[in-house]
């Protein structure tokens, strides 16, 4: 456990992007090359981390060599490792894309340090084993994300991301009050220890429930759970494409991850069906409402942003199913399906936004109704949108197909068949909005000369989309093993 070589990836996943951010800040002239090197190094550390968890199970490191209650712990179980791997691979794709996307020297200089800080915050958030440290990570994430989102400097982007920043701050403050209550009642901040004390002190149910409400509500605001999603579409739609990809695919996911982490690891003894049903119902409304708005959206990036609102909704549907399923293979399947949906959406949405950015760059706009020619001129980009879109719909062989299959299976098996209706409705609406875009690719325009026209930007988009469709859909077995290794959930 304390072998420094084995736990080094835990630290490096956070320290490397941080160092990278410092270097690109101090040496803006070399920001692109330094940025890419940092991105590669960080992704390498993440791969090493996942490999380490794969080989020997959960990694736990107490920083500073102090007692576990006093110090901050870094913690990587299978759930965290899988998400870290996704975040870092997507991050690498976004980085490569960004080398091609930003041409203005000032924006290049502004993008890289903030992006690497955001990356460090993401990794730090997934690995944090301490309630207050999570607050710091949330703030770093929120500030870096809002700053990146406003990078284009245009009025809509600034207004939307200012709102995003304020809403995020409110969410973190609510979260922090929950932490304060937990510290008051349980006297420590370490996630694992607080979890033990919550389980051991059922008489403090009211306090724990209040803390949970404050924390989950704050995080639901950041995860854009309906009806707290209002800030997301304008913020994500107006950001530069690589930033939109990061915000939609990764940042929102991080907030959801934290909800899940709290739900499964911290508050599991006190979570009940009522709370789970409430969150899932909001998720269900998010699916229908988000998909509907995506269908009505006039701009491609706005469509993608609303689709994120819907996709986050799916993740919440799992909560009541988890509550209703006793520990065993069925519950393992459910957790893996949840993870699979989250990972697939990460890859697919990033691919979608990157491709949408390319379309926007080439067409000069992203109005869906006028995209015909561009979509046809850029076959690789259109392919990326098509594949990512299939993953958003949940068509086979994408990872979300398996996820939805297991979700519906569990819904029927636990008698909560109404989620099946929600899932099918959502899938139909998703097909409608995805194919509304794709049908623009078939027109009477001249035939494109070659498949890939702009490799540095198109290949990342295509690769990310491909992963969401082929890799996650056809080879998701390892996720089960990762989850088995990391003990996620009160059942284990």
């Amino acid at each position: 456990m304390s072998d420094p070589l084995m736990t080094a990836p835990l630290v490096l996943c956070i320290a490397l992007p941080l160092l990278g951010a410092l270097l690109v800040t101090a040496l803006p002239r070399w920001s692109v090359s330094l940025g890419i090197v940092s991105a590669l190094a960080t992704a390498g550390a993440a791969v090493a981390l996942t490999a380490a968890v794969w080989q020997q199970g959960t990694l736990h490191l107490i920083l500073g060599g102090w007692d576990a209650t006093l110090a901050i712990a870094l913690h990587a179980d299978g759930l965290a490792a899988a998400l870290i791997l996704m975040v870092n691979l997507v991050g690498l794709g976004i980085s490569v894309y960004a080398t091609d996307y930003f041409h203005d020297r000032l924006r290049v200089g502004a993008f890289w340090p903030l992006w690497l800080l955001l990356w460090a915050a993401l990794n730090g958030l997934f690995l944090a084993g301490d309630l207050f440290n999570l607050y710091v990570m949330l703030e770093l994430l929120g500030i870096a994300a809002a700053a990146l989102g406003a990078l284009t400097g245009n009025r809509d982007a600034v207004a939307a991301n200012l709102r995003y920043l304020l809403v995020g701050l409110l969410g973190s403050i609510s979260y922090l009050l929950g932490v304060a209550l937990l510290y008051t009642a349980h006297g420590t901040l370490d996630l694992g220890l607080v979890a033990q004390r919550i389980a051991a002190a059922p008489e403090l149910f009211a306090v724990d429930a209040a803390a949970m409400t404050l924390m989950v509500a704050g995080l639901a605001l950041k995860a854009a759970l309906f009806p707290l999603h209002f800030w997301l579409p304008p913020a994500h739609a107006n950001a530069p494409a690589p930033v939109s990809a990061a915000l939609s695919a990764l940042v929102v996911k991080a907030a959801f991850y934290l909800i899940l982490r709290l739900w499964l690891d911290l508050f599991w003894p006190i979570t009940g069906m009522a709370a789970a049903m409430l969150l899932a119902s909001l998720g269900a409304v998010a699916i229908v409402w988000g998909s509907w708005r995506a269908l009505r959206a006039e701009r491609l990036k706005l469509l993608a942003a609303y689709s994120t609102v819907a996709q986050i909704g799916y993740l919440f549907l799992f909560l009541p199913l988890l509550t209703a399923t006793p520990p065993g293979p069925a519950r393992d399947d459910l957790l893996a399906a949840l993870l699979l949906m989250a990972l697939t959406h990460g890859f697919a949405k990033a691919g979608f936004f990157l491709a949408a950015g390319l379309v926007q760059t080439h067409a000069g706009h992203d109005r869906i109704d006028d995209l015909g020619g561009t979509a046809q001129r850029l076959p690789a980009t259109t392919f990326a949108i098509a594949m990512a879109g299939s993953a958003l719909i949940g068509l086979p062989p994408s990872g979300s197909f398996i996820g939805k299959w297991l979700l519906m299976q569990s819904a029927i098996a636990t008698g909560q068949w109404w989620w099946v209706v929600v899932v099918t409705t959502g899938s139909l609406l998703a097909s409608a909005y995805v194919f509304r875009v794709l049908s623009r690719a078939f027109g009477l325009e001249p035939t494109p000369v070659r498949f890939v026209t702009d490799a540095r930007a198109e290949v990342p988009a295509l690769t990310l989309a491909l992963v969401s469709v082929a890799v996650l859909g056809l080879a998701s077995g390892p996720l089960w093993r990762l989850l088995e290794l990391g003990s996620a959930g009160g059942g284990a």
């Binding site: 293979p329 393992d332 399947d333 893996a336 699979l340 076959p379 392919f383 299939s390 068509l395 086979p396 062989p397 197909f401 398996i402 939805k404 299959w405 297991l406 519906m408 299976q409 029927i412 098996a413 099946v420 099918t424 899938s427 139909l428 097909s431 194919f435 049908s439 078939f442 027109g443 009477l444 325009e445 001249p446 035939t447 494109p448 000369v449 070659r450 498949f451 890939v452 859909g473 056809l474 080879a475 998701s476 077995g477 996720l479 089960w480």
Partner: protein, 501 residues
């Protein structure tokens, strides 16, 4: 997962068109020769692999590719007698259609895209044929939808986009219903593979209510692609697609996938006994019969040749469902053999329709006066196909109808004869006038839009030979019905296994 020959072959059959397809996407538009070579290599390689497969299955060898996607979710490609029937049909017709399409699209745009999806489409069809469980079936079924959508929309005209949209709306909704049904069924059975005689026999009678609902979901999902009335609305609309696509959609890929799925569900999931006991077969037979008559009636009212053929498809595909819905091996044989016979006959007709349109600009029945004199070989092929559809011996269609009628009698459902008879009359009523016009009316002074190909035949070779070849198949399938390895004999083999004879 073992990596020996028997475990690799089914997977290799799917990949033999998938991989060329992927490469074709990446090709530059002007790499005409390389694209053609890739297409033909894929088609021929698949044919060779399928030949190996047929031989092996006939010899009793078991071929199965299993890939675990996730614990409990396994992709199973399995070659039983029924798969082999469908795989062979798809593979042979793909080769023919590829040749036809290369000729047809010689000066078209976006050919890399077209042939890429074309290959994907065949891979999906073969995957459906080889699916060893419902999960695999659903996956390939949806992939088929995705792969055919760009083909339908290929021309890029507003009508094409509209037709494609309607096609997609129908098939994706159907796919979802199928998915829900499959998932629901799985919660009752756990992971099970298709099995001759069905896999639900052990379930208690408590869940029979659920099984009926699940069947309704599955049938609705499959019925969309099989164009069962009232789920057939997409089919006439998707006639905007280029001729090779129509041929493939109608004869092999889409419609047949739906019909094949119905066969699978009835025989290898529910089992005929249980399906009959639950009253499912009765419902299916009524639906199928209605579709047969309705499609024929609608076909009579169409002037557009492709539309007329499309409604004819609606009608003819339901013969397969009808055969499946009648209890008894003889009807089963009739249904199964029609899977093949309808395929080769309908593809012949569509190739011919494409030739008329491409060579003469003739797209409507009313313009077909005298085409037989201008294009005798094509019209001869068309005549064979049309007469086969009507059920004139010794062409393939007669064999199907004969067994279906016999099966109806065997099952004690004499009304089937009535359905068959009225359908035959209607078939004659919409096909014979075409033949009369084509052969006996005088040609017009000028064709609507005539192309002159520099060849000594009536049209380009790549367009002419495919229908002629498939027409010969129609004749052979009828004439040599009793020969070993004929579709009929193979269908008999399947029926024997299904009924445990």
């Amino acid at each position: 997962m073992s990596w020996d020959y028997a475990a690799l072959l089914p997977g290799a059959i799917v990949l033999s068109s998938l991989l060329p397809g992927v490469f074709i996407f990446l090709l530059q538009e002007e790499s005409h020769i390389l694209r053609t070579v890739l297409n033909l290599i894929g088609a021929v390689a698949k044919l060779v692999l399928v030949a190996l497969l047929i031989y092996g299955v006939w010899a009793g060898q078991v071929f199965e590719t299993r890939i675990a996607i996730a614990p409990g979710l396994t992709l199973v490609l399995n070659a039983d007698a029924l798969s082999v029937l469908f795989v062979t049909l798809s593979t042979v017709l793909w080769l023919v259609t590829t040749v036809y399409a290369i000729g047809y699209l010689e000066h078209s745009t976006n050919r890399s895209r077209f042939f890429g999806f074309f290959s994907l489409c065949v891979s999906a069809t073969v995957g459906i044929a080889l699916s060893g469980n419902l999960l695999t079936f659903v996956i390939f079924y949806e992939v088929l939808t995705l792969a055919t959508y760009p083909l339908v929309a290929h021309r890029g005209t507003p009508e094409a986009t509209r037709g494609a949209k309607i096609y997609l709306a129908y098939t994706l909704s159907g796919g979802l219903l199928l998915l829900v049904g499959a998932v629901w069924l799985r919660t009752l059975t756990g992971p099970v593979d298709f099995q001759e005689g069905g896999v639900l026999g052990h379930l208690s009678a408590d869940v029979h209510g659920q099984l009926v609902v699940i069947f309704a979901l599955l049938l609705a999902g499959l019925g969309v692609k099989a164009a069962l009335v009232p789920l057939h609305g997409w089919l006439p609309q998707s006639m905007v697609a280029p001729a090779p696509v129509s041929s493939l959609l109608h004869a092999v890929a889409v419609v047949k996938a739906g019909a094949f799925g119905i066969v699978r569900v009835v025989y290898d999931v529910y089992g005929v006994e249980l399906a009959s006991q639950l009253g499912l077969l009765a419902v299916l037979s009524v639906l199928a019969s209605f579709t047969i008559v309705y499609g024929s009636v609608m076909a009579m009212t169409q002037d557009g040749l492709k539309k007329r053929l499309a409604y004819s498809t609606v009608s003819q595909v339901s013969y397969i469902a009808l055969g499946t819905s009648l209890l008894g091996p003889v009807a089963t044989i009739g249904g199964l053999v029609h899977l093949v016979h309808q395929g080769i006959m309908k593809i012949t007709l569509f190739f011919c329709a494409g030739n008329y349109a491409e060579t003469l600009g003739v797209a409507n029945v009313s313009q077909m006066d005298g085409v037989g004199r201008r294009m005798p070989l094509t019209t001869l092929a068309f005549t064979v196909g049309a007469l086969g559809m009507i059920g004139i011996p010794p062409i393939a269609g007669f064999v199907s109808k004969w067994y279906l009628g016999l099966g109806g009698v065997e099952a004690g459902q004499h009304w089937v004869l009535l359905v068959l008879a009225s359908s035959t009359l209607l078939n004659a009523a919409y096909f014979l006038p075409i033949l009369y016009r084509a052969w006996f009316r005088a040609p017009p002074a000028a064709w609507p839009k005539e192309h002159h190909f520099h060849t000594r035949f009536e049209t380009m070779g790549a367009l002419l030979w495919p229908p002629v070849i498939t027409a010969v198949f129609c004749l052979l399938a009828g004439l040599l019905a009793a020969a070993p390895f004929s579709p009929l004999e193979w269908a008999r083999l399947i029926a024997e296994r299904e009924y445990g004879l």
